[in-house]
């Protein structure tokens, strides 16, 4: 269920990206070998970075964007 405001939707999307990143991390830690390392660094790192940057962006953008009804 999507949030009512843009901020809430951004937080939700950020959370989903971070959950995916954490799932990738868990899977790579349970697996072994060069491919797991690459997936962790590449895909996991990308999801972590996107999730955290979106969260930070949602914080700094709250002051300039009015809430939606």
């Amino acid at each position: 269920m999507l949030g009512a405001t843009r901020l809430e939707r951004r937080l939700q999307l950020s959370g989903i990206l971070l959950i995916l990143g954490l799932l990738v991390e868990a899977a790579c830690l349970l697996a072994r070998g060069p491919i797991a390392f690459l997936v962790f660094v590449g895909l996991g790192g990308l999801l972590f970075a996107a999730g955290m940057l979106l969260y930070l962006y949602s914080l700094v953008s709250t002051g300039v964007e009015p809430s939606e009804k």
């Binding site: 269920m1 949030g3 009512a4 901020l7 809430e8 939707r9 937080l11 939700q12 950020s14 959370g15 989903i16 971070l18 959950i19 990143g21 954490l22 799932l23 991390e25 868990a26 790579c28 830690l29 349970l30 072994r32 070998g33 060069p34 797991a36 390392f37 690459l38 962790f40 660094v41 996991g44 790192g45 972590f48 999730g51 955290m52 969260y55 930070l56």
Partner: protein
């Protein structure tokens, strides 16, 4: 069995997912002051902590001998560590624990200079690219990207009595300086030239490690 370190990270990951899940399901809880603080922990602090711990674990794993030898093309190099010949440099180091057996490849093939570990890992990425997307050479045709630097040997041997007072090393006063400045190579000068030599393994005698 899962190592304790991995189990701890997995537990932290599960806890983080559960906490983040609350904010995905109920994002309106961030309207309160307490909700904002917990959201910062869940959406920023915990992922950084999990990511850093996971990265550290993955980096440690990527230095292990089993990690390096997990690629089929590296199997002969792993086999060469068991050659029964004291003049075979990698085998003598591995068998006598002059390098940690669990990190044998990385100990000699990293770069003991600033950002050397990162350079070694970037070299590893190139290996993976060639292995999966390029045309990997036959094991006996694999060459180092650049000549082996004495710095990697001296990281352990410099200051050691066997090296500093070795009869050959001290016979010529200029030799020690040439070795330490990498002008005379430990390997290609012919003194310690027997390295992996995977092309000749079929004729080699192997040491059987006692279990």
């Amino acid at each position: 069995m899962m190592p304790a370190e991995t189990a701890l990270i997995i537990t932290l990951v599960v806890f983080s997912i559960a906490l983040i899940g609350v904010f995905v399901a109920r994002p309106e809880v961030t309207t309160t002051r307490g909700g904002k603080i917990v959201a910062f922990l869940a959406l920023f602090f915990l992922p950084i902590l999990c990511g850093a711990m996971g990265f550290s674990t993955e980096m440690d794993r990527s230095k292990t001998t089993t990690f390096c030898l997990s690629c089929h093309i590296m199997e002969p190099y792993g086999k060469s560590l068991h050659v029964d010949d004291s003049g075979h440099v990698p085998a003598a180091h591995f068998q006598n624990h002059r390098v940690p057996p669990d990190d044998a490849c990385y100990t000699c093939h990293t770069n003991y200079a600033m950002f050397g570990g990162i350079k070694a890992k970037l070299g590893g990425l190139r290996h993976v690219y060639v292995y999966y997307l390029g045309t990997p050479p036959a094991p006996e045709n694999i060459k180092l990207y650049e000549a082996f630097n004495n710095r990697e040997c001296l990281h352990c041997h410099a200051g050691a009595r066997s090296f500093e007072e070795g009869a050959v090393h001290t016979a010529d006063p200029d030799l020690m300086r040439a070795i330490k400045t990498n002008k005379t190579s430990c390997i290609s000068s012919g003194c310690h030239e027997t390295v992996h030599n995977v092309g000749t393994l079929k004729d080699a005698k192997f040491w059987k490690e006692a279990n």
